[in-house]
């Protein structure tokens, strides 16, 4: 790979020297920026504007010249609801069900994941043997692909799977995990936590290790109880890191799709259909392909994300300063 890179670099030597001569060093910066900026423009900025255009037009055509302007109709259709707490009263009941599911999903997933990550980080921060090994044990599911994660747990939870064998062994009735709404939702949250908690554990562990030792020594001198030490020293000093971790988890949480889709396909019924899956199915999987509706839904999601990312940048800066 290194050899390939070198030869690619060498090829550009002459044209770049030529550009440097006619542009001067001052403007050469833009040449270095160009490839990246072109990709950013094509695949990030342009889509943001076009997303709005799609949301304001209707029909099932993908090309813009074939689409009719419908104003805010798509948003109105999505928002038309008698009671926002009951998706069945909404015109697009699946959208609101997805909103509800995503809401519950992030509350449970982010809440429990941060809890377990913090606990794990605290345990790993103790004076233990083989810390590197244990740290990588908790971390390694982060590297697995979402589809692999889904299949690992699907295999354990299938009718004749390990989980039911365990229940059978202690004398309980087997459960059809993938056919019951609540259980499928529970396991979706579970496998998502399983797959991602190592990442947050790692960040929290780094945060814990940044707390100066002498603060704890002072607490030990004052004969503070471990509980009090945790509440008065660890938690306040870890708060900036916690904030970063929480916002990051929320940003990723609302965008969850891959592992849950591969695990349950959004089912049974629509019990585990999340927002991104709604966008995917409205725009790409179903017929007719309602691109306008899909765009309108993703704009709503994007607004949430912009707020969260703003929060993230603020929290990161605060963390770096404090």
């Amino acid at each position: 790979m290194l050899g390939l890179l070198t030869s690619i670099m060498r090829v550009f030597e002459i044209p770049m020297a030529f550009l440097q001569r006619i542009l001067g060093i001052k403007h050469l910066a833009w040449v270095f920026l160009a490839p990246n900026l072109i990709l950013f423009f094509l695949f990030a900025f342009l889509p943001v504007f076009l997303n709005v255009v799609y949301a304001l037009t209707g029909g099932d055509q993908i090309l813009l010249r074939d689409r009719a302007f419908v104003g805010a109709d798509n948003f109105a259709v999505l928002a038309s609801c008698d009671n926002y707490l009951d998706p069945n009263t909404c015109q697009k009941d699946l959208f609101w069900r997805a909103v509800h599911n995503t809401g519950w999903f992030i509350v449970l997933q982010v809440g429990f994941m941060i809890g377990f990550s913090l606990l794990t980080a605290l345990v790993l921060n103790r004076d233990i043997r083989a810390r590197g090994f244990f740290r990588s044990v908790f971390f390694f599911p982060v590297l697995l692909s979402p589809v692999v994660v889904a299949l690992i747990w699907k295999w354990i939870l299938q009718r004749h799977g390990l989980m039911n064998a365990g229940l059978d062994a202690i004398g309980l009735e087997p459960v059809l995990w993938m056919l019951e709404r609540e259980w499928t939702f529970f396991w979706s949250v579970f496998l998502s936590i399983w797959a991602h908690m190592g990442f947050y554990t790692l960040i929290l562990l780094a945060g814990l290790q940044a707390i100066p030792r002498d603060v704890y020594e002072a607490a030990l001198m004052d004969a503070a109880t471990p509980f009090r030490t945790f509440y008065r020293i660890t938690l306040p000093l870890l708060m900036p890191t916690m904030l970063v971790v929480m916002v990051l988890a929320l940003i990723k949480g609302v965008q969850t799709f891959d592992e849950v889709y591969a695990f349950s396909g959004g089912g049974p019924g629509s019990a585990t259909t999340l927002l991104i899956q709604y966008v995917y199915e409205t725009g790409f999987a179903g017929a007719p392909r309602l691109f306008g509706l899909a765009s309108a839904a993703s704009i709503m999601l994007a607004l949430v994300l912009v707020v969260l990312t703003g929060l993230q940048l603020w929290a990161t800066r605060k963390n770096a300063d404090g």
Binding site: L119, L143, H160, S295
Partner: protein, 350 residues
């Protein structure tokens, strides 16, 4: 065992383990079981025959029924031990099954056939790896094509990303020019727009560029990342500008300075980014799912996902394919885990 015990419970400056130590190691070993267990179970299961996978309750080791070739019969016959009835204790080969009874033959005496009830026999088994689960992937499925697609996308996208991002980072860290702050703000802006919220226009743009249903359609949209630009820029800022000035005195061109000086000096950051990129691309799912529609263009992840939806797919092949899909990443992890941990901690994931 005793040695392990003293090793684990050794503590600095205290005598013997206290209750907190027990809880700590209890939690850690529970964690090992919960994190590694499911993957090991998948690995063990992937070597079992389809019949074994369907039996309940599942057994830990893979078993295979013993087969025997009997003169007078073309195919090898499955072996059984008769448990009850007049033939109890004998080992027989089954010729065919007829309802609740089976026609069997004594392998030592091929001319002697008789009937037993299926409830009065037990399969003769031995521990054996069902490696056909894996070999069938290459015969029955187009596994190599999916593997190639994934590899091509991962490597090409990673190389393009490293070059483009490092060029941008070089410009943003080593040049003073009007509009630099604006560009940095734009890069932060990109951070706010993940692919997941612009799927429809992204699809249209890719279609207009004739990228839909091609591997390049997966490679290009993700090739420039704001994360990469930031990570490399932060690192390049630490390289002293005097080095550049010295090179300019020696009449080195700016491009030479970039790739002969700055790039090699940024190697640690580039390594981190390369590992992250390989991981992201290999595991990528949503955009390939939208951009690729023909089966022959599928990546491993897509193939795996579509196989699990097909009715005639057997768990035995699916499990083997899952193992082969996670192996490359597991290998990368095993060799480079130090970089991965620092890389992920410093970039905040994606």
């Amino acid at each position: 065992m005793g040695k392990i015990n003293t090793f684990l419970t050794r503590t600095r400056g205290r005598n013997g383990p206290d209750i907190m130590d027990w809880l700590t190691y209890g939690y850690l070993f529970l964690g090992v079981a919960l994190m590694f267990g499911p993957v090991l179970w998948l690995l063990a299961s992937s070597f079992k025959t389809e019949a074994e996978l369907n039996s309940f309750p599942p057994r830990l080791l893979p078993y295979k029924q013993e087969m025997i070739t009997v003169t007078g019969y073309d195919d090898p016959l499955p072996l059984y031990t008769v448990t009850e009835g007049e033939h109890a204790g004998r080992t027989v080969a089954q010729v065919k099954r007829i309802g609740l009874s089976a026609k069997v033959v004594d392998p030592e005496n091929p001319t002697e056939t008789f009937k037993i009830k299926t409830s009065e026999r037990e399969a003769v088994e031995r521990v054996a790896l069902a490696t056909e689960n894996y070999t069938e992937l290459f015969e029955k499925f187009d596994f190599l094509r999916y593997f190639w697609n994934s590899t091509f996308i991962t490597l090409t996208a990673t190389i393009i990303m490293l070059i483009f991002n490092s060029m941008a980072a070089f410009a943003l860290s080593k040049y003073e020019f009007r509009g630099r702050t604006l560009v940095l703000a734009l890069v932060i802006g990109v951070l706010m727009v993940p692919q997941t919220v612009v799927l429809v226009p992204l699809f249209m743009i890719a279609k207009e560029l004739y990228l839909i249903d091609t591997l390049w359609g997966v490679i290009l949209p993700g090739a420039a990342t704001p994360t990469g630009v930031f990570l490399l820029r932060q690192y390049m800022l630490t390289i002293p500008d005097e080095i550049l000035d010295a090179a300019r005195m020696d009449k080195a061109s700016e491009w030479k300075i970039y790739w002969r000086i700055i790039l090699p000096l940024s190697a640690p950051a580039i390594a981190v980014l390369a590992i992250l990129a390989i991981m992201w691309r290999w595991n990528d799912f949503l955009w390939p799912l939208i951009a690729l529609s023909r089966n022959e263009n599928y990546t491993l992840q897509l193939a795996l996902n579509s196989f699990q939806g097909e009715l005639d797919t057997e768990w035995s092949n699916l499990l083997a394919m899952t193992i082969l899909t996670l192996t490359p990443i597991a290998l990368v992890f095993a060799f480079l885990q130090k970089y991965i941990a620092t890389g992920i901690a410093s970039t905040g994931g994606k």
